[in-house]
Symmetry: C2
Subunit: 141 residues, 2 copies
């Protein structure tokens, strides 16, 4: 359970998906794994380059695209104009607070299973987006 372990887990995940492990790609994915807040590219970049420059903007974009393509990260579209990213690729839903804008993961089993067979389409995945006020903002309004 040394510090090196988390590093190795991330390296192995990248390798097992056939991705070359570069410092930039590692940093982007490690950063995303350490967060729960569904950051935008801008937020990831700011975080990475806080102390000294680690990655360019273009690389964060291409890294995220590579990670997305192999299924290590998911894109989250909840607001106009910005993509957010999520290293939690297990099935789950999202709650979006209309006041503070925060995004919370909602457990998959919050909803009972759906009747996707009734659709005239081949459904491969689905997710629920819930909007409202988060625990902090309830009462402030």
């Amino acid at each position: 359970m040394s510090k090196g372990n988390l590093r190795d887990v991330i390296v192995n995940r990248l390798k097992s998906k056939g991705l070359r492990v570069t410092p930039q790609r590692f940093a982007v994915y490690a950063n995303l794994c350490s967060r729960r807040d569904h950051p935008t590219v801008e937020q990831i970049l700011k975080d990475l380059n806080q102390d000294f420059p680690i990655s360019s903007q273009a690389t964060v974009y291409t890294s995220l695209q590579a990670l997305r393509k192999v299924g290590l990260v998911k894109e989250v579209l909840l607001e106009e104009g910005v993509s957010r990213y999520d290293a939690n690729v297990e099935p789950h839903h999202h709650f979006h607070c209309r006041q503070c804008g925060s995004i919370k993961d909602v457990p998959w089993d919050t909803f009972d299973s759906f009747n996707l067979e009734r659709l005239p389409y081949l459904a491969e995945s689905y997710e629920v987006t819930i909007r409202g006020l988060c625990d902090r903002c309830t009462g402030n309004n």
Copy 2:
């Protein structure tokens, strides 16, 4: 049941929401009501100005924002980078085909048994996004 009727319905909807009825705003909303395909701003604009110029781009944006603010249209976010718009403001879900990109409305009652009380948040609305292959693309793949 004359042609004027549909026109009047739209005019009355705009008025009842306190919106001034301008030719541009009318055209944007009428166009959106006549479609089922959740168009982007670009598509609406192209449609409106097909024969002769009706509206500028900026006006389509501001019209849609005005219509959205009063609840006559909904914004649909399913793909990165573009907002789509929907004049169907009754509760419903969306299906998004990963092959042809088409978007279909899915009846509200396709899903049941939601336990929103179990969330530690104040849920005000929700919707399901389903992804997969539409009827046309099933088999083509």
